[in-house]
Symmetry: C2
Subunit: 249 residues, 2 copies
């Protein structure tokens, strides 16, 4: 990890945002933000359906400022739509009819805080199973080290983001640009968990705690969708305070 | 996780000390501290060889105070024996000849900080592969929730402590006292990684970053020993500022 052989790049997974300041990779890196259930899946869906831009904000208090300026507001805390928001955090809310050519302001429990934290990266992009291979291709083109930053759940490890991390590590490890032997234990663990899970992904996901949390809240209609790989080519990137799709569509 | 069915107990793994304050389990819990390479393996070895007590201290600066009072001092930082210490952190230093009936003051990079952090637990005990089943039996008798606190490496996830956590989760999941479905994603992940690794543990450990770190420092003679399960029945417990063996030998 400390040394790089033949200029190959390393991959590190931060299982929660609180681990991000302690990352081993300190320079020449891109950050992939992951919050599979549901923020980053929702963001990818919005761009897939033609959203012009998404402004992520960390503080609920700032919502009204944007609302008064005519933006669409999407927001939740602990999975519940905020009272003064137009949309919650379900990807199914972000239909073409609602989001095409619109700028959306979004605040979520975990995802937007992760974006705030990663501002020292060369680039920040948004990953979900929906755009897995597209993100993998984009990363390979960058020729940089990679930090996969899992939003987690209130600074706790969660399996769903880790599985995405593992799927992305698997994709990248097929590239000659990366040397998994130099990467961190976190990347190896994520890959191994993904290797177990991918045989029957939805069955594996059944045992995750957040899936049960969503089920209790009757929000689990999105599970199958959130674990569907490669239905979108979007590359949502954080540039100048907002997310835009930088894919060459 | 949030609710307990039939009074069954839950298991949570903190992959690094920095995650400990965010643990889900807030009361009625015991903490198992794990630093397989090498602090907790070394502590178990010391008690197996007859040490009377071990005083863990977090600050290197406090060493001289103890040294001037005739204690045996064991200490390292980043794997290197401290200049004014009698012993480093290799379990092979802690022979019967050196430690029997002695009180040892120990400071290590990760392990002693973890003990400091876990002082809100009902009990703190020290786990390693050496005393895996003994710790498992002791936990089962306590009838409490369980937090396995991995010392990690400078607040990063590491595989070796996670594998121990998984082995302990496996042992506990055979007990009727625990319901793995209520436990955290961290416990499920640790168990799944252990399930992969245990088929050929030393081969799996080859790929961990800390194993490579020790190899570079020519400290890897301890690897096989550190992953040898169930050669000791000691239960090192932290009581009134020091570790003592509470097993009924």
């Amino acid at each position: 990890m400390e040394q790089q052989i033949e200029n190959k790049k390393t991959i590190e997974v931060c299982f929660t945002p609180i681990l991000y300041p302690y990352k081993l990779i300190k320079k020449d890196f891109v950050v992939i933000i992951v919050d599979v259930l549901r923020a980053t899946t929702t963001i990818c869906t919005a761009f897939q359906n033609g959203a012009k831009a998404i402004v992520p904000i960390a503080n609920v208090e700032d919502i009204n400022k944007y609302k008064n300026n005519g933006f669409i507001i999407a927001g939740e805390r602990d999975g519940i739509k905020l009272e003064n928001a137009d949309l919650g955090n379900s990807p199914f809310n972000f239909t073409k009819e609602v989001v095409a050519d619109k700028t959306i302001v979004i605040t979520t429990t975990n995802g937007t805080q992760a974006i705030e934290m990663a501002k020292d990266a060369d680039s920040i992009v948004i990953g979900s199973f929906l755009n897995l291979n597209a993100i993998g291709n984009w990363i390979t083109e960058q020729n940089k080290n990679v930090i996969i930053l899992c939003a987690g759940w209130k600074n706790k490890f969660n399996l769903e983001d880790t599985l995405f991390a593992g799927a992305l590590v698997e994709y990248l490890s097929d590239s000659l640009n990366f040397n998994l032997n130099l990467s961190c234990d976190s990347a190896i663990a994520a890959l191994d968990l993904w290797t177990i899970a991918k045989e029957d992904l939805l069955d594996y996901v059944e045992k995750t705690s957040h899936r049960h949390r969503l089920k209790r809240m009757v929000l689990d209609d999105v599970i199958e969708y959130c674990f569907t790989p490669n239905v979108s080519e979007v590359i949502p990137a954080y540039i100048d305070g907002k997310l835009i799709d930088i894919s060459e569509k």
